[in-house]
């Protein structure tokens, strides 16, 4: 009996060691791969010894994997371009991304892993909930954090945290300014989903900003998720209010119904939507004459004609010909994030041997001074709160295709 027990313990121990050996060899494999990647870039020459290490965290597997993978590819493309052009301040840039499966706890673990690796600043995290958790850690370390796509307001609470994308409610401000700057209308109406925080958040900031800009909001009409098919009452009110433009901070399905019913009611205003409208042309059997002239804010527009977007799109397609499905706003946000880091690091004279906290101080001071022409907007500048200001990309549907407005 006793002998059996001992045997069991011995066997169990043997198994544990076997597993440990497995994970070890896995790690070994990984290091080899990155070593190979390094030897490829070693052909490039840099003015200074040492590397600047940028870490990133995001979902590379799981439900949100498409976001993380797009960020990874976008960032790697920017890093490759920067290294080919001599790096940042003459140092080679090293980029490493860890998977968090869109889970806050795993994200914090990944943050620790990256710190052990020697990360000096963090380009991440990709999704909002993990980002909140990691930004607390970053604050404690004074680690510079730039999230490409964390749009929730509290992602960037610490003063060392910044973001590339617009926060959700900020789209309202951007939309109001866009209408005023381009003299699209003087009287506007808003139709929003009162059962959705995304929609009401944008609507509130839009109305507040419109008031300060002298833009008259003549009608504010709401609907709810349960009541999102018949909009005739709202449209009648908007039509009677004399609005020239209807702002729609909503998703595309109700938007398509609103436009159809407005047409039926003989009402043809200008339409401007938030980024929730993106995808309206992807609806099955969409009547393109209905959405003709519709404009919406979008972080990334593949057909945009500006130089940066053209360089990004061509670079992405030639570098990742098999992964063009990731050519989306997340890749664009990450691409801009790396270039913003480059600009700030050059401004703040960040070097390879600087401590995390010193890098954080230098970057934080430099971020509010730089201006970056990016894929997601031109002339991007940052406030001390970490919010970007940029001319938004506005898409317009012309002849059934999206164009830059």
């Amino acid at each position: 009996m006793k002998l059996r027990k001992i045997l069991a313990v011995v066997l169990a121990l043997a198994m544990v060691f076997a597993f440990a050996a497995c994970t070890k060899s896995d790690n070994g494999g990984k290091e080899d791969a990155s070593g190979e990647a390094n030897s490829n870039t070693a052909a490039l020459s840099f003015a200074n010894e040492g590397t600047i290490k940028i870490g990133s965290i995001g979902p590379l597997t799981g439900d949100a994997a498409q976001y993380g993978n797009a960020v990874k590819l976008g960032a790697e493309l920017a890093v490759k371009e920067i290294n080919a052009a001599g790096g940042i301040n003459g140092y080679e840039v090293e980029f490493r991304m860890e998977d968090d499966v869109n889970d806050a706890e795993k994200s914090v673990t990944a943050y620790g892993t990256l710190k052990d690796w020697g990360m000096q600043m963090l380009m991440g995290t990709v999704t909002s909930t993990p980002c909140k958790a990691v930004s607390t850690e970053a604050e404690a370390d004074n680690m510079f954090l730039l999230t490409p796509s964390g749009s929730s307001v509290d992602c960037i609470q610490p003063d060392v945290a910044f973001r590339v994308c617009f926060s959700d409610p900020n789209q309202g401000i951007v939309a109001a300014n866009y209408i005023v700057d381009n003299a699209l209308a003087t009287k506007v109406a808003v139709i929003f989903n009162s059962s959705d925080t995304y929609s009401t958040g944008i609507k509130d900031t839009f109305v507040a900003e419109a008031a300060t800009k002298g833009l008259e909001v003549v009608a504010q009409e709401a609907f709810t998720n349960d009541n999102a098919t018949d909009f005739s009452a709202q449209i009648t009110n908007i039509k009677a209010s004399g609005a020239e433009l209807v702002f729609m901070p909503i998703y595309y399905t109700p938007a398509s119904l609103i436009m159809k019913q407005a047409k039926d009611a003989g009402f043809a205003p200008t339409y401007l939507g938030s980024d929730g409208i993106d995808g309206i042309l992807g609806m099955d059997n969409i009547d393109t004459s209905l959405v003709e002239g519709l404009m919406y804010l979008t972080p990334f527009l593949e057909s945009s004609t500006d130089e940066v977007t053209a360089r990004f799109v061509t670079g992405f397609k030639s570098t990742y010909p098999d992964q063009t499905q990731y050519l989306n706003q997340f890749a664009a946000d990450a691409y801009d994030a790396i270039y913003a880091i480059k600009a700030a690091a050059e401004k703040g004279n960040v070097t390879a041997d600087m401590e995390i906290s010193a890098v954080g101080d230098a970057m934080k001071a430099a971020m509010v001074e730089i201006s970056v022409d990016g894929v997601t907007g031109s002339g991007i500048t940052w406030s001390a709160e970490g919010e970007p200001t940029k001319t938004p990309r506005v898409a317009k549907i012309v002849n059934g295709k999206t164009e830059a407005a």
């Binding site: 009162s194 709810t224 009452a233 709202q234 009648t236 009611a265 099955d284």
Partner: protein, 293 residues
């Protein structure tokens, strides 16, 4: 002019509620059960029209006819396999089965057509009428919906009151056992009721999606519930009641959206329903039936 416009939209929305409410009210009146799958039969009808007209490119009229035939068969099939075996069961069991059928249809549609919202092409080719220098526009869909609802309502009323199968329906509604003793085929009559109700559902689906052209597997759910309310409002079991209930509901909903608050419209609709039922528990047109002891 704004008031008139709100009123017309209300009547248009109300006519669709009426058409759907007819299906609820007929089945309830005759089989004494709440067929909660009715809203989903409407959705299936709309998908059949979509497949016939958009995918196969058939003319709208043909598409609607195919949908009517398909939904009639579907209604009879549902009745035969899901409800008929439960004829002697408690009404609760039948109600749960109806909810089950509702989910079955929704998930079948999800499986076949996917969850993406599809834009429905209108089956109505009538162009809009503009009155008073463009201040009032009535869409072709609105006109057709109102006309079709009235025609269906009148012919259904005549059918139930003047024809033999219609009278058989009334007899079954009053007393199944006695009707059977008088030589009426009770099962056949109930199947006929389902056939008519489901055929109407196909028309309602085509009109609903022509007016509000976003089609998804959940399209029928909310209008189905609202129409059920309309049927109760007008007096469940009564055909003119379904028409009046639907139109009154549509008008209240639209006027409260237009003049009080677009967020509170549902609350107002249901508050009115509660008041009506407190004052007249059988609904506007409902007859008070003495319980047989």
């Amino acid at each position: 002019m704004k008031f008139l416009s709100q009123l017309i939209s209300g009547i248009s929305l109300g006519s669709i509620y009426s058409l759907i409410a007819l299906g609820y009210t007929m089945v309830y009146g005759i089989a004494k059960m709440l067929n909660f799958a009715h809203g989903d039969v409407i959705m299936i009808g709309a998908f059949v029209v979509y497949t016939a007209c958009v995918t196969a490119g058939l003319p709208a009229v043909v598409g609607v006819l195919i949908a009517i035939v398909f939904c009639t068969l579907l209604g009879v099939t549902i009745e035969r396999f899901a409800y008929k075996p439960l004829r002697q069961a408690t009404s609760l069991a039948v109600l749960i089965t109806a909810i089950g059928v509702s989910y079955l249809l929704q998930n079948l549609a999800l499986l076949i057509f996917g969850s993406d919202t599809k834009q429905f092409s209108s089956v109505v080719s009538l162009s809009a009428v503009t009155l008073a220098d463009g201040q009032l526009t009535i869409s072709g869909e609105t006109i057709v919906t109102i006309i079709v609802s009235v025609i269906i309502m009148v012919s259904l009323y005549l059918f139930v009151n003047k024809t033999k199968p219609g009278k058989a329906m009334q007899a079954v509604s009053e007393d199944k056992g006695a009707a059977q003793l008088m030589g009426i085929n009770v099962n056949g009559t109930i199947a006929l009721t389902f056939a008519i109700g489901s055929g109407l559902a196909a028309i309602a689906g085509a009109l609903l999606c022509s007016a509000y052209p976003a089609l998804s597997p959940y399209t029928g759910a909310m209008p189905g519930i609202k129409a059920f309310v309309a049927a109760v409002f007008g007096g469940i079991g009564s055909i003119p009641g379904a028409m009046i209930g639907g139109i009154v509901l549509g008008i209240i909903e639209n006027l409260s959206k237009g003049y009080i608050s677009s967020q509170l419209s549902d609350a107002i609709v249901f508050a009115v329903l509660i008041i009506v039922l407190l004052v007249k528990p059988t609904g506007i047109m409902g007859k008070k039936i003495n319980e047989k002891v």
